[in-house]
Symmetry: C2
Subunit: 226 residues, 2 copies
């Protein structure tokens, strides 16, 4: 099956570092689904205003280029990176077909001047990601709050606090919702597994700026925004 | 993006007629995801036993061949077939990329003798459908019971009853769960829109047999199973 993109995702996150590990982890993070010229007719989304949420079907290929052949197992970061799980029991990008699936909140459908886009929040897509399909979220066939969530449910993330001085620095550089989104992203601990040097400074790109921080005793300290 | 099938879906439903219009509408309907030879290593599904549900990403192409160019709007059967809705506001198969998305219940993972398969229930895939990806259902990022479901939520299906004599005929021909599944399928009213001739007899193929029925005053009458 050959798929052609229908849209491109726009996000303040232009690098893999800092990207939420799943949709919904940074609910204040806004992004935009910008339809390609062939799909700019607002008729394509008629009726979408009645839905709170949509599914985005996208491709990992742009974010996670991999020439490695697909292997049957992966090491989920949630399990500390040292337990092998079957690729079809995970949401890992390292899968036979690099299809991503994310449920996001619809903020606004915008159309006009030959442009059609959907502003959404809570996405885990990197800037520039090709989008292949959008489907409305239908609770009666998509929502199963009591379904057992396997190892994902059994191993919750330890989230980090953000130092209050740091939160102040962020507020100066980023208005309202962006600041909230950055705190959510940092609290998810974007560091690679096994990194625990409290002096090491990391940089997260966000909206053209770079947020420099370090992590000590479960807390994020912002060192600089540039 | 080019995708290669990883599995084939096996269902007692070999024709489009009777197929549930969404996953979950016939919860007793069983089916099987049979992995292709390259994916028969049970390592591919290690850890899946901890999840109650999975997503199947599949292709409409086998079930709903269409040479028509993609149009911006479709007429959802739920709206009586006479209202145009944007294709991205529907789950219609007539969409730019023919990707299907279904949440199903995992009944059992079966492996051995060079075969790997997942028995599931509640699917809306036709027999022979190519499967491209399987992902675990993770409630915290997939389940939003209170999300507004647009026109789908606002227009509930009128379901049909099944005549008790008919249910008896079905029980003779189909053991336990299959009989339940058939009643669920018939109660969803498989007839095309605008069909209302109470004498017209329809045939639904199921597991190699054909269930003949007619519909009068909101009730299904089984005329024959052969």
């Amino acid at each position: 099956m050959t798929l052609e993109p229908i849209a491109t995702f726009r996000s303040p996150l232009s690098e893999k570092f800092g990207l939420p590990r799943q949709s919904g982890l940074a609910p204040s993070l806004e992004g935009e689904i910008v339809f390609l010229p062939d799909y700019c007719d607002p008729s394509f989304v008629r009726g979408l205003e009645g839905f709170d949420r949509i599914w985005i079907i996208w491709s990992f290929s742009a974010n996670h280029p991999s020439d490695k052949p697909s292997r049957p197992t992966v090491r989920p970061p949630r399990l500390g990176g040292n337990v092998q799980m079957g690729v079809f029991a995970t949401r890992s990008p390292q899968r036979p077909n690099p299809i991503g699936l994310s449920c996001v909140k619809v903020e606004e459908v915008e159309s006009g001047k030959g442009k059609l886009s959907i502003r959404v929040s809570g996405a885990d897509l990197m800037d520039g990601t090709p989008v292949y399909d959008i489907k409305p979220y239908i609770p009666y066939c998509d929502s199963f709050p009591d379904a057992r969530g396997g190892f994902v449910q059994e191993h919750e993330w330890v989230t980090l606090g953000v130092d209050s001085d740091g939160a102040g620095i962020l507020k100066k550089h980023f208005p309202g919702k962006d600041c909230e989104a950055i705190v959510q992203l940092l609290s998810q601990d974007p560091r690679p597994q096994y990194h625990s040097d409290p002096q090491r400074v990391y940089g997260m790109a966000f909206g053209g700026k770079n947020i420099r921080f370090r992590v000590e005793d479960g807390k994020v300290y912002i060192t600089e925004v540039r």
